[in-house]
């Protein structure tokens, strides 16, 4: 077997490698949540991929071919959202919704997808496999 100092060195190398792996992998896979107010106050922060949550403003949903346009509002701030493809059936005016995407140069938020709403909790599109807690 490997002797003690050698083993310690090996553990140190493994830990360092693991830390490097984790921080490297987190670099652009971490998605932050923003409210419409935060996006308006600091548009640059929303140029990277973020999640945007708010109420779908009643009367704001328009369909234009395969693109759906609507506005998300939260405490008086509103952000226009452009989503290509069909939003899920749970997406409705006057309800809360979370979209994932990035702010476009024209100030319209380009949503890649709507995060599905579940009961009164938000979960990323595929809900968990364990049923017991899917309330």
């Amino acid at each position: 077997m490997i002797r003690r100092p050698g083993r310690l060195a090996l553990v140190a190398v493994l830990l360092a490698g693991g830390a490097l792996l984790v921080t490297g992998a987190l670099r652009d896979t971490l998605t932050y949540y923003r409210t419409p107010g935060e996006v308006l106050a600091d548009p640059d922060a929303a140029r990277e991929r973020v999640r945007l949550g708010g109420e779908v403003v009643p009367g704001s949903v328009r369909r234009d071919g395969e693109v759906v346009l609507f506005r998300l509002a939260d405490s008086g701030h509103e952000v226009a959202v452009r989503q290509s493809g069909m939003p899920p059936e749970t997406f409705r005016e006057g309800e809360d919704a979370v979209v994932e995407g990035r702010l476009g140069v024209d100030g319209v938020f380009d949503a890649e997808h709507v995060v599905v709403r579940h009961g009164n909790e938000y979960r990323p599109a595929p809900p968990p496999a364990e049923p017991a807690d899917a309330r």
Partner: protein, 641 residues
């Protein structure tokens, strides 16, 4: 009325479980007779049975004065799903949890009552007491409702779509809670004096039971997610899924470190046995407190602080009890090219995968108070960290047949053919298509493993105990390789398209075409159902597919049930996303998923391997029993205090 009976059951359990802890403590310290302690443990089980039976009776009898029934029952719910609604929401599922936990306690209490078993039973009884208290005070499903509603909404509609609802959660719980026995034994070993040396031999069958049921539960959950949720996937790196994977990883590692009596790996065995159940507790906290799953903190659960406190307490107790040890006595050197080295590397890798997944799961929880922003970790993180490590683990699974010889040259000679097969596979797949590096290595590694297992000398001939142990391992590793091929192929070669079709229009993916024939609406029993009919044709064959979109007004929730045409080569997977109000058009998602069937097959083979290993272990005990003083596996020289 029923509600009072149920609460009485919980209170009885709350009395029986701590009584059991005290009585087992007396057995451990004073050598008192074990019979009263056993009776107390059985009493706790009976209390849990009563609570579950009462809640089932209330659900089936539509007694809406009971809170849980008012929230999750309904007159329209079919019998099967009325039975399964016991575990369709948190408070009821805690009762099932208690039932399984108390069941393991009562089963484990039956053996020879030496000091080790008594100490372990104290630990199990304390855990049982905590969950009885949690259920009674913080999540009592039996509280009365005033005024009594005439009907309930029924369980979450997602949980009424697939028969797996009756099997998947109980299997998961059997897996999670089975880990309490190895955990308790590892904690008890340093306290039990000379008896403690034998803890690993006692723990291994329970770890096998837990591993087997958890494997089946996880794969069944993936299958269910694939067949019900309509997004076409089976694993999403969701916190709840990760919570089930973490203890599976550490228990897999434990089953390897405990091979051959676990000699020379005393520390690993103890740490892994404890880690399994601690991760189960942590997962319970993550999924039941609303801490991670809910992005917007709508649901504040009172269980959160209690569970977190218990997790921290358990970690502390584990560290204190198993931490300070004498260093194990010096061992004779082990050759580098040997099974112990492979097991060590495998263990380190599995633990690293678990650590990486754990970090990704709890990071959002820690990041929020620290940085002030809410964040979520995407699947990309896991694809870059856990997946490559898992491919290396898969490669290691091909080594055991070669490592049966002792010298380096022999090992290399035995690895030549599997290695060649792996390289050939990589070359062939890489030339024919362009999968990513991870998928390509996974295919190569799977070829390496399967070739190694199939060409190993002596497979599959003579019986005998040693060989049948290998048989279980061979089967398990083959299952892993099959699963890996299924995952890599379906992740790499799946093709998807989404379109809004008018009636008569066609969507195409590869050589598969689906033409929308009709959209029908119906509203049986208050649930609005939209059914699209499509003719799916590929390669001259055609069949009718009918994906469904259901809306449940009681829960204000839509469920999309895909139409899956499962084949050995590929699945054709059709989902109805939305329909126009006039019924003239529908948005459809068509996916062609190759080799998904291999994932379920791999899971089934893995489960079978667990059962085989279990039956071999039990048979080995029977063979050994006539000579109680005979060949005992010497265990855990470092396990004594």
């Amino acid at each position: 009325m029923l509600g009072d009976l149920g609460t009485a059951g919980l209170v009885a359990g709350l009395l029986a479980a701590p009584l059991a802890a005290l009585l087992w403590l007396r057995v451990a310290l004073a050598g008192a007779p074990a019979r009263p302690a056993r009776l107390a443990s059985v009493g706790a089980l009976l209390a849990a049975v009563t609570a579950c039976a009462v809640l089932e009776a209330a659900l089936l009898g539509h007694d809406f004065s009971v809170r849980f029934v008012a929230e999750n029952g309904g007159r329209h719910v079919p019998l099967y799903y009325a039975v399964t609604s016991l575990w369709s929401a948190m408070d009821g599922s805690l009762l099932l949890w208690l039932l399984v936990l108390a069941g393991y306690g009562a089963l484990f209490a039956r053996g020879r009552p030496d000091r080790l078993r008594a100490c372990a039973m104290v630990v199990i009884s304390v855990v049982t007491t905590f969950f009885f208290a949690l259920s009674t005070f913080a999540a009592n499903p039996f509280r009365a409702v005033h005024p009594v509603p005439p009907d309930g909404p029924g369980p979450n509609p997602l949980l009424q779509e697939h028969a797996a609802m009756g099997v998947h959660p109980p299997l998961l719980y059997a897996g999670y809670l089975g880990m309490v026995v190895p955990f308790a034994l590892a904690l008890a070993a340093p306290l039990a004096g000379p008896d403690g040396r034998d803890w690993l031999r006692l723990a291994r069958p329970w770890a096998l039971v837990a591993w087997t049921t958890l494997t089946a539960g996880i794969v069944l959950g993936a299958w269910w997610s694939y067949a019900v949720l309509g997004w076409g996937g089976y694993w999403a790196w969701d916190p709840v899924e990760n919570a089930s994977l973490l203890p599976w990883l550490t228990t897999t590692a434990l089953l390897h470190t405990s091979l051959g009596g676990g000699r020379g790996r005393e520390r690993w065995n103890s740490v892994l046995a404890c880690a399994g159940f601690l991760l189960v507790l942590l997962g319970t906290f993550l999924t039941r407190s609303g801490a991670v799953a809910s992005v917007h903190a709508f649901t504040e659960s009172p269980l959160g602080p209690l569970l977190l406190g218990f997790v921290l307490l358990a970690v502390l107790a584990t560290t204190v009890l198993t931490g300070p040890r004498q260093p194990p006595p010096a061992r004779p050197g082990v050759p580098l090219w040997s099974r112990p080295t492979a097991v060590l590397v495998n263990t380190v890798l599995l633990v690293t995968v678990a650590a990486v997944v754990l970090i990704g799961t709890v990071l959002p929880l820690i990041a929020e108070p620290v940085t002030g922003t809410r964040a979520s970790v995407g699947p990309g993180y896991y694809h870059r960290t856990a997946v490559p490590l898992a491919v290396v683990v898969l490669l290691l699974a091909g080594l055991p047949p070669a490592l049966r010889v002792r010298d380096r040259a022999g090992v290399l000679r035995r690895l030549a053919l599997p290695g060649a097969a792996a390289l050939a596979t990589v070359a062939a797949v890489g030339l024919l298509s362009r999968p990513g590096a991870a998928a390509l290595t996974a295919f190569g590694a799977a070829a390496f493993v399967l070739t190694g297992l199939l060409t190993a000398p002596g497979v599959p001939t003579t019986a005998g105990l040693r060989r049948s142990r290998r048989r279980a391992a061979t089967l398990g590793h083959a299952g892993l390789a099959l699963l890996a091929v299924g995952v890599a192929a379906s992740a790499t070669y799946a093709r998807v398209d989404e379109r809004t079709l008018r009636v008569g229009e066609t969507i195409r993916v590869g050589d598969v075409a689906a033409r929308l024939e009709s959209v029908q609406r119906a509203a049986p029993g208050g649930r609005m159902t939209v059914r699209a009919r499509l003719v799916v044709s590929s390669g001259g064959h055609s069949h009718l597919a009918a994906p469904v979109l259901r809306y449940d007004p009681a829960r204000d929730m839509a469920v999309t049930v895909p139409a899956i045409d499962a084949g050995t080569r590929r699945d054709v997977y059709l989902t109805l996303l939305a329909v126009a109000a006039d019924g003239g058009s529908a948005s459809v998602r068509l996916a062609v998923n190759p080799l998904v069937g291999l994932i379920w097959a791999g899971g089934a083979v893995g489960t079978a391997a667990g059962l085989l290993a279990l039956s071999d272990t039990v048979r080995a005990r029977r063979v050994r029993r006539p000579h109680p003083t005979g060949r005992r596996v010497p265990v855990a020289a470092g396990a004594s205090p």
